[in-house]
Symmetry: C2
Subunit: 564 residues, 2 copies
């Protein structure tokens, strides 16, 4: 596998010239623009030199479980220690608990590198980040002071325990129980698909667990959130007695082999001791407030894995000699063949549009506390970042395999691993079908389309100064508005048309940001050519999805029972 | 993994009411229409009951190599014996050598079942079939009489040895040597990616090997084809002395684990003894004459694997209960959710269009000896069958994983295997980029578009009697003609636009056949609904590819060096 190269120029261009990261300086006292270059440069070194070499090991040397204890891929512990030593886990965390209080957008830039370098590994600090967010936002001061500093430093990691065998997309079906006991609760139940549910890289693991109190209302309004440490803390605040919370088996998965996916048993004996986070029966809302970040992170994973696959394909295409082209008697590298160059540009154009959206959404998310406008925009972007980007990532990793020809199918080449790893992305953290429903239901319908209208207005204003493709872009913008209206007024059936609407929105927003990038005085030739390619080859897909939205216009018009 | 169900009704409908298999009775004396039902019914039993249960074993119990001998997945030998005992290997072979001289279209129908049931296994008899074709068409009478009967009965299997490390898509770079020696030749060289290159299921293995004679012209005009048996025959025609042709290693692949992919060494010692097939230096042409069948077979594999994945998704969607829908307080199976039903119909519609094309192309291929028109049509269909169908198969297997949610990512569920297996299909037997070049180069340009014009004319005539979607279909037909002209007259750059043209042609031809099916008095409701879905959701993609063809209008407009 060729070496990973952090795409510093592209990341900086997106942050500075499309997302306008300078707007964050006034809201983040610790951040000034001088910091961007050194952080990107250190992130590049860390991900390229320390993280990337462990990627293949994770694919081959799977985590093992023995006596209810999981041992991770041997090569990972040193990487994790380097991550903590470099304080990479502390970037966006509050200073009060040892964090650097920097914008999340910077953390996203750092995470892009780590996720490209080793997706399976990256999930451990990422899930910890999610747990930190939930605790910080919802837990009481005591829990925060007790748990956050060690989680932020990376000494302890965190997990999110939502799914049960009968409660996946539908969390209302959660059965895990929480019985009040003294100051705390005893948790009983089984959770599945728990990422990094157990391992030996950290001194403690802080599980956040959704469970039901006795007599809680049925459905999602009866779910509470609990903090359940692997080791209960002793009087000095250090890990002491083992809690009754164990990984009991590991899943055998298509990809991300290095990430232990655990079945977790809480309360096989006296019950796992847990502490309430936030209010009783408000657990799902606590989860939702942190879901924007988690979902955007999965979109980022799509970008990151696809970027790595693209780089491998690019390297291979300039290394592999095969065939001749018109006007050259010598055999050429395959990158010179029309169809291979088509595939390379297809990947590169998609990636730049995805990256632009990723950093625009992350800066927006950093501003969401400033006013409702930024919050709304973040709400709107999140399902598109997660859904559209992880869909595109599937195409990119598959195309990267294709560029390799027969070698792409050989595991040692390494690109097949990325295809396997990437396949989880449209599924976890809410399937893309759920993202689409979130977009048309919660995000579009909740404010009767006002948020989208504001976005469309902003895009149309920007389009006024586009040098090329202005009319084409505006026509697509009109279609997006028509599609949104059709869904809002019920002409299109929201539940069925949701996916097409999400994809359409993604392609249009991607075009906006590519064209916007072309307006920058710093734009380079490759961005302009990628934009040309995008407008001619990716944007037209929005038409297909528009046709889809329009034609889903009768309730139950496609009854699956007819297929039986 | 739920049980595989051979899609008897769909296969019969495509063969009888779209492909018009009755036209074959006058050209195949052994075939009459009464045979269709019993053959499909027996094929269903064989694939469902005898082949399908071995599929997962092949994924887990990989072939092994020891002392230059490959041992296949243990469960496979009994399946292979059942296949020979059932005479499934003899269907289309000439009677003279023990075959049944039935139409190839019937064999395709049988193979669909076997490939759905176990793709990795199916490649062994399939490659044998390819070798039989090459020998039958090009070898002298003596070779035919000596080798064909045992290959047709299945006692001996066959392989195709084309690829070398530096000669993949570009066979002109082949280096393997053939030195004349008495009546035969001594072969020296290494071949890679040799499917079922060695195993213990048959008494002998007949390798067909591309190699160069001394002083052969450079390039593809200096390649000859040789028959190289694993065991040389003794005087009674039985396998005797071991030939100097050995598998020396096995590839570790993403999928089709049960199919041993060998590195073959010919002539590590005194040279592997081989016999010339056809004329000297005409080896590549010998390969090409059988490539139509082999390439159509890979298209069939796309259909077959995708069908299996779709069935698993359908079963899961009607088994898994999750969430509620409007108007029902009870939790429902996920097939009732709009987005899941969208995915199921997307798969089902694509599959029916693919199946229609598959059987139309195979009946056409059976008629290609009758007149030049059928030969031309077969030439045109072949790259579309291979390219378009294997591209669609990727989307279908991935969608089938998606329907399974988190369970789709767990290997034990079984659908992930199909995603891994399917990924080879756009690559082998000529990558889809090569198929596209074949379509616009050899097939379109060779007769200045006459063959395509005839097909477009036939489609437009059929469209006259379409009840719905006539105008929409005709508009797409016009676009296809415009795109073909643009490529032929150089307005679009053929090499770069080829892929988009191939995909566009696939979607339009698929629409034609779906709509044609709707004209049949035997059409059922599900076919009609699938056609509606296809026209509204799949056909619009042709517009995107049309935009692609048009916009690739400048030579070298996307230079990949800009991406470095």
């Amino acid at each position: 596998m060729s070496g990973y190269r952090y795409p510093t120029d592209d990341v900086r261009f997106c942050l500075e010239h499309i997302a306008g990261i300078h707007r964050l300086t006034e809201h983040f006292p610790n951040y000034d623009s001088e910091l961007l270059d050194p952080i990107l440069s250190e992130a590049a070194k860390f991900s390229e030199q320390l993280v990337a070499p462990s990627n293949r090991a994770g694919d081959i040397n799977w985590p093992t479980i023995s006596d209810k204890a999981v041992t991770e891929t041997p090569e990972f512990k040193a990487v994790y220690e380097a991550m903590c030593d470099g304080a990479w886990t502390t970037l966006s965390a509050p200073e009060e608990y040892g964090g650097q209080a920097l914008p999340r957008a910077l953390e996203v830039a750092v995470n892009e590198g780590i996720q490209s370098a080793n997706l399976a590994f990256s999930l451990c600090p990422l899930l910890t980040q999610g747990a930190i967010d939930a605790i910080e936002t919802h837990a009481n001061a005591d829990l925060k002071a007790t748990y956050l500093p060690n989680m932020i430093s990376g000494r302890w990691t965190g997990t999110m325990n939502l799914t049960e065998p009968s409660a996946g997309s539908d969390l209302s079906a959660i059965k895990t129980k929480a019985i009040p006991d003294g100051d705390g609760y005893r948790i009983f139940g089984q959770k599945i698909f728990i990422t990094w549910g157990d391992h030996q890289m950290s001194d403690n693991i802080i599980h956040l667990v959704l469970a039901r109190l006795p007599d809680a209302p049925e459905g999602v309004r009866g779910i509470s959130l609990f903090l359940v440490p692997k080791f209960l803390l002793d009087e000095s605040g250090e890990p002491g007695v083992r809690n009754d919370a164990y990984a009991i088996s590991l899943e055998h998965k298509l990809g991300i082999h290095g990430s232990p996916t655990c079945v977790m048993q809480f309360g096989d004996g006296d019950g796992a001791i847990g502490y309430l986070v936030g209010e009783e029966n408000k657990g799902l809302m606590a989860m939702f407030t942190m879901m924007n970040n988690a979902r955007q992170s999965v979109g980022l994973q799509g970008l990151a894995v696809a970027e790595r696959a693209y780089q491998m394909a690019l390297d291979y295409a300039f290394d592999r000699t095969q065939g001749v082209v018109k006007g050259s008697p010598e055999k050429v590298v395959i990158a010179k063949h029309g169809d291979v160059s088509r595939m390379l540009w297809q990947m590169a154009s998609s990636l730049s549009a995805m990256r632009a959206l990723m950093y625009v959404a992350s800066v927006e998310s950093d501003l969401k506390g400033v006013d409702a406008k930024h919050q709304k925009r973040t709400d709107l972007y999140t399902p598109i970042v997660k859904g559209w980007m992880t869909e595109l990532s599937q195409e990119i990793v598959s195309t990267a395999v294709q560029v390799h020809g027969g070698m792409g199918f050989i595991e040692e080449t390494g690109v097949a691993q990325l295809l396997r790893d990437a396949r989880i992305l449209p599924i976890y953290e809410g399937t893309n079908g759920i993202q689409a429903l979130d977009l048309v239901g919660r995000k579009l319908a909740a404010d009767k389309g006002e948020g989208l209208k504001a976005l469309i207005y902003e895009m149309s204003q920007d389009a006024e100064s586009f040098v090329g493709h202005k009319d084409l872009f505006l026509a697509h913008l009109d279609q997006l508005e028509v599609a949104a209206k059709a869904i809002l007024n019920g002409e299109s059936v929201a539940n069925t048309a949701a996916y097409d609407f999400m994809m359409m929105a993604g392609y249009v927003v991607g075009a906006w940001l590519m064209l916007k990038g072309c307006q920058s005085s710093e734009v380079k030739q490759d961005w302009q050519t990628k934009t040309e390619f995008y407008v001619n080859h990716l944007l037209p897909r929005a038409n297909t999805h528009f046709a889809g939205v329009k034609s889903f216009n009768v309730e139950d018009q496609y009854n699956a029972e007819l297929l039986l």
